[in-house]
């Protein structure tokens, strides 16, 4: 199972939505945001970006919809190469920022969610419908005329997601969507992410420190270190590669740690690779039986 995660990314693919080709970004002060970054997003998948603080996850995310331009390398979105002429990329790729307060600027929730659609230039009435549909999709339609500053952390996050959803993007990138949220709200956001993929066919990129969550919901995990992706693959393959994970300055998810701990404690080896709590429970129960 090891070594499945080779970077074979640079071959084009039919159902590829975003293709980042060896992009580098140097910030004005000289610090390296990303470096030789190769990354892609396929149709209808959830990709998790995992990496230590300062590894370049947020920088990558801001490249996905053209907020930052690569210093070298190129980015292709929906088959169109991103250059200065292609300014409508924000319609295809939505970004949910880590700090909700950065995103919510309008006086009411409705105004905020309508902001994207209004910029797309349909009629106000349609924009309003679009906004309400998005709010319903995240289960926040009752917040309509609240003031964003007075919402709880979890509610703010939901509104941010709705604001992006209202533009009906093909891809949504979320920067640490669950940090600061209590477990119940975090679960809510998790379910919305899964729902967006399964019922709306949207691909989702999440940057996160919560490797257990990444293991639970993502189809593919990319390990980011020092500005580039050093490994990618299915969660079960990546997270069981202890060397890789430690080398990247991370820790294995709880579930994996527990499972490996048990195996080590018993001195046995196994062919199973549980990565969610449910899988772990089943595996262990079958071991005990």
């Amino acid at each position: 199972m090891k070594n499945e995660h080779v970077c074979n990314i640079c071959t084009a693919d039919a159902n590829e939505l975003i293709h980042v080709d060896c992009a580098s970004h140097i910030y004005p002060d000289g610090s390296l945001g990303i470096h030789g970054m190769c990354f892609r997003v396929l149709e209808k998948e959830i990709v998790a970006l995992c990496g230590p603080n300062g590894s370049g996850k947020s920088t990558l995310i801001e490249h996905l919809n053209g907020l930052l331009r690569p210093t070298s390398g190129s980015i292709t979105v929906m088959g169109k190469k991103l250059d200065l002429s292609h300014i409508n990329i924000w319609r295809d790729v939505g970004v949910v920022f880590q700090r909700s307060d950065d995103q919510l600027f309008a006086p009411t929730v409705l105004d905020d969610v309508m902001f994207g659609p209004i910029n797309m230039g349909i009629t106000i009435e349609q924009d309003r419908m679009e906004a309400i549909r998005a709010l319903k999709a995240v289960g926040a339609e009752n917040l309509l005329d609240k003031m964003p500053s007075y919402l709880s952390g979890g509610q703010k996050r939901l509104v941010c997601i709705a604001g992006v959803l209202a533009m009906r993007p093909k891809v949504i990138a979320m920067d640490e969507p669950t940090s600061d949220l209590d477990p119940v709200h975090a679960e809510m956001v998790e379910n919305i992410i899964l729902n967006l993929k399964n019922n709306h066919g949207i691909s989702i990129v999440i940057a996160t420190h919560d490797l257990d969550m990444a293991a639970r919901i993502s189809d593919r995990v990319c390990i980011v270190k020092d500005g580039s992706i050093i490994a990618e693959g299915r969660p079960s393959s990546i997270f069981y590669d202890k060397n890789l994970i430690e080398k990247s300055g991370l820790r294995q998810p709880n579930v994996v740690q527990i499972y490996e701990g048990i195996k080590k404690n018993l001195g046995i080896s196994m062919e199973n690779y549980p990565i969610t709590a449910d899988e772990l429970i089943k595996t262990i129960a079958s071991m005990i039986r």
Partner: protein, 268 residues
């Protein structure tokens, strides 16, 4: 805000009341309330009579009270206007011609307060309180999104854009400053002995506020661009129109004002 200084109106509290919007006055068109503000300013600038100033103040205070707004807070918030009136007028009211009430015997500098001087002070005080109370009443009975929409209509671009966004950002920056001050106080800042160290500490906080505001602005701008911001933010809220009754009231108020100022004969 409340943490920063108790005698300055607390924006959070103001917004809390305006968003609650349960009183009769929250339902009146914001335009009406705005025009009434203009009327009050005109009145206060034209009026020379203490009685009128006092009546105006009492009416405005009654409006404020009837709306269920916090009276105790209001009196705390009067601190600044009070100081402003006193700081200038106290210098100027001495030796006004009139009946002397009270004299200070300073060598070379005879200081006397006369009835006219006192009248002047009180008149100015009531005028100022009337306008302050009405402003706060206006703020606390009008929803934030109406204000935004009004700003959007009234001011030319780009002033409207800067105004709209800064109005939103104020809540962010206030939180930011407040938490910084809290963090400082938690380590014993805030009661320093030396003025030099005191100013240095505040300078550091202010510098950081500026830098962090800059970074925040950058991020917020990015977030807006990520949703297609093209330099024009539209406030979509519809403001309630001025009703017939409201037009009538304003007309009556204007007539009354003209009468009182130019035709009524008042003792003082």
């Amino acid at each position: 805000m409340s943490e920063l200084s108790p005698h300055i109106p607390d924006l959070d509290l103001i917004t809390f009341y305006s968003e609650k919007g349960t009183t009769l006055f929250s339902r009146i068109s914001p335009w009406t309330k705005g025009l009434m503000l203009v009327l009050i300013i005109l009145f206060v600038s034209l009026d020379k009579s203490l009685i009128l100033a006092m009546c105006l103040y009492l009416i405005v205070l009654a409006l404020y009270f009837l709306s269920g707004l916090p009276i105790k807070k209001l009196f705390q918030w009067y601190t600044m206007p009070f100081i402003f009136v006193l700081s200038l007028v106290l210098i100027l009211i001495w030796n006004e011609p009139g009946k002397p009430i009270f004299s200070l015997d300073v060598p070379y500098l005879p200081l006397t307060i006369t009835d006219n001087g006192l009248l002047l002070l009180l008149t100015l005080l009531f005028k100022s309180l009337a306008s302050v109370t009405y402003s706060l009443f206006f703020l606390m009975t009008t929803r934030y999104n109406y204000f935004s929409a009004m700003i959007y209509r009234v001011f030319p671009s780009p002033i409207d854009q800067v105004f709209l966004m800064s109005y939103r950002f104020i809540f962010i920056t206030l939180k930011m400053v407040e938490s910084m001050i809290k963090a400082l106080r938690s380590r014993g800042g805030g009661l320093l002995k030396s003025a030099r160290r005191q100013s240095k500490m505040f300078a550091e906080v202010f510098a950081l506020t500026m830098i962090r505001s800059y970074d925040r602005a950058d991020r917020i701008n990015k977030a807006m661009e990520a949703r297609g911001f093209n330099g024009r933010y539209v406030a979509a809220t519809r403001i309630p129109r001025i009703g017939i009754g409201e037009y009538f009231t304003m007309l009556m108020a204007t007539i009354l004002m003209i009468y009182l100022i130019w035709f009524a004969k008042l003792p003082f």
